[in-house]
Amino acid sequence: MVVRDKMKLLRLTTLVSVAVLVVLALFPLIGIPLSWLNYLFSFFIYLALANMWNLLAGYTGLICLCPAAFVGLAGYTMAIGTHVGVPFQVGLIAGAAVAALFALIISYPVFRMKGIYFAIGTLVLPEALKAWFNFWRPVGNEYQGMGAGYSVVGVAGITLGEKYWLALAIAAASIFVVHIILRARLGLGLTAIRDNENTAASSGVNIFRLKLSSFLIAAFIMGLAGAAYYIHVPSIQPKGGFNISWLLLPLMATVIGGEGSEEGPIIGAAIVTFLRFLLADYGAWSLFIQGIILVVVVVVMPQGIAGLLRRVGAYRFPQKLFQAAEGKIHKT
């Protein structure tokens, strides 16, 4: 992708984005139905995850199969916190911090692994955590004889609107973070690493440090999204907290929407949210159909929708519109 020509559109797109953000923020106040708010809540959570997955896989070249580890750890930290007097608001940040800390600790062994080894190495983590949390119960009463789940205390009074704003803020943060990174030196370095790690190193890029930056940012924001989700639910178990779905969701969003672009995850997350709500009443069939769609899309349309649009030249028309509008704005 070319960041350069987007610079020209910066001012107008910023205006449009802020406008969209304001409109979305007003939704709970202007009587939008609760079911819509619920729907958008999920969309925002999935979007944050998709953006971070895209940062890792699409821009840094790290196919990391452990989003569930970040989500689950953040969720558990927050949930357990509420049982020892830590309010969920603090738990939200603490959870994200724990996820980032976890990322920091495993980065040393995990960045030594290359390619598929890295993928499997990261796959081990949520599975191991799932097993661990099945047996580890630091606080609270025994739950069916072993570890397992926690409820989240103290969230009964929170309205859906407030949770909606939280999710919106996290999604907006994820978009903002990716946006900033792509225009900063870090984005250049990450793309260089993705394209050719050896050349990047011999050109002065500290591979480990940049990968770590990307990894920590992704872990933190995925943690935020995860903790926010569990504030909404509001209970967590190992099977759910470390579920493969937390990997499937951003992966599908990125494959369908297109990776390595800023708009891809947005399109993909929208479609994935739509799919999930459509299939919500079908239990295991939901997962079945999602699997089929994943396989079909990756075979038939590997570059995703964003890639398809780009190839078809669909961007040229709005680009021209934008340029004309910008020209007019400058004249007034």
Partner: protein
């Protein structure tokens, strides 16, 4: 206190002597890969501002040697000194920061980035020595200025070779390792390549040149080192080396 002053003077005089003779110093370096001795006890120095040619039959270890200098491999024994500093165990990015840049025999560009962004990576991450460079000038030097907004993955192989050199220059190096920059070029293109090499030399850079194309080797370099099967077998001016029996034996059996 007296001891300190004494030590400092000795250090400084060592450095002075070094910079008069060697900006890069390879000292008894060896490297094996699982029983295969790729480089065996090689010693030589590279003087500031010179163009040193590195020659040898296929598989002699030339690229391995470059990789050792660039920090991609670590020597099993021996030392590598750059501007007085022991860089033997330094990682590649740190070696770039100190002022050594390298090109790859098979071009390794950042395929999804624009040509100028390929240079930007090196400029923003590799140049730690203060003075900012005009990337456009570098692109102009290698005849890629018109293609600065092309995506690197769309360039022809010959252009990619020149991009390699441009990217190396963008990190503002003192020493450049050129790995077969002329390979694959036609007869007509050779003079331009020679010209570019000479211009780089005029910029004050020191160059180590690995090349198979004899014309470039002979006309561009001051001195040549010949290695065969990982060992240094000859060292001298192009004229001397071409007549050396050991060199002829290595190439023609």
């Amino acid at each position: 206190m007296v001891v300190k002053v004494l030590c400092d003077t000795i250090q400084r005089s060592k450095k002075v002597t070094m910079s008069e003779t060697a900006v890069l110093s390879i000292d008894g370096v060896s490297k094996s890969f699982g029983g295969i001795h790729a480089i065996q006890n090689i010693t030589f120095g590279v003087r500031a501002g010179e163009v040193l040619g590195l020659m040898g039959p296929n598989g002699a270890g030339k690229t391995t040697l470059l990789n050792l200098i660039a920090g991609v491999y670590r020597p099993d024994s021996g030392r590598i000194l750059f501007e007085g500093r022991d860089i033997t165990r330094y990682p590649p990015h740190k070696i770039c920061h100190l002022g050594i840049a390298r090109t790859y025999q098979i071009p390794q560009p950042f395929t999804s980035l624009l040509v100028q962004d390929n240079l930007m990576v090196a400029a923003k991450y590799g140049n730690k020595r203060g003075d900012t460079l005009e990337l456009d000038e570098i692109l102009d030097l290698v005849d890629l200025l018109k293609q600065k907004d092309t995506i690197a993955g769309d360039l022809a192989t010959v252009s990619l070779k020149r991009l390699e050199l441009a990217r190396a220059l963008a990190s503002n190096p003192t020493l450049i390792l050129l790995d077969e920059v002329a390979a694959g070029s036609t007869e007509a293109e050779l003079p331009r390549i020679l010209d570019i090499t000479k211009q780089v030399r005029k910029m004050g850079k020191t160059i180590i040149l690995v090349e198979h194309v004899m014309k470039v080797m002979v006309e561009a370099v001051d001195r040549i080192i010949v290695i065969d099967k990982g060992e240094k077998i000859a060292e001298g001016t192009p004229g001397e080396v071409m007549e050396d029996e050991k060199v002829l034996a290595a190439y023609f059996g």
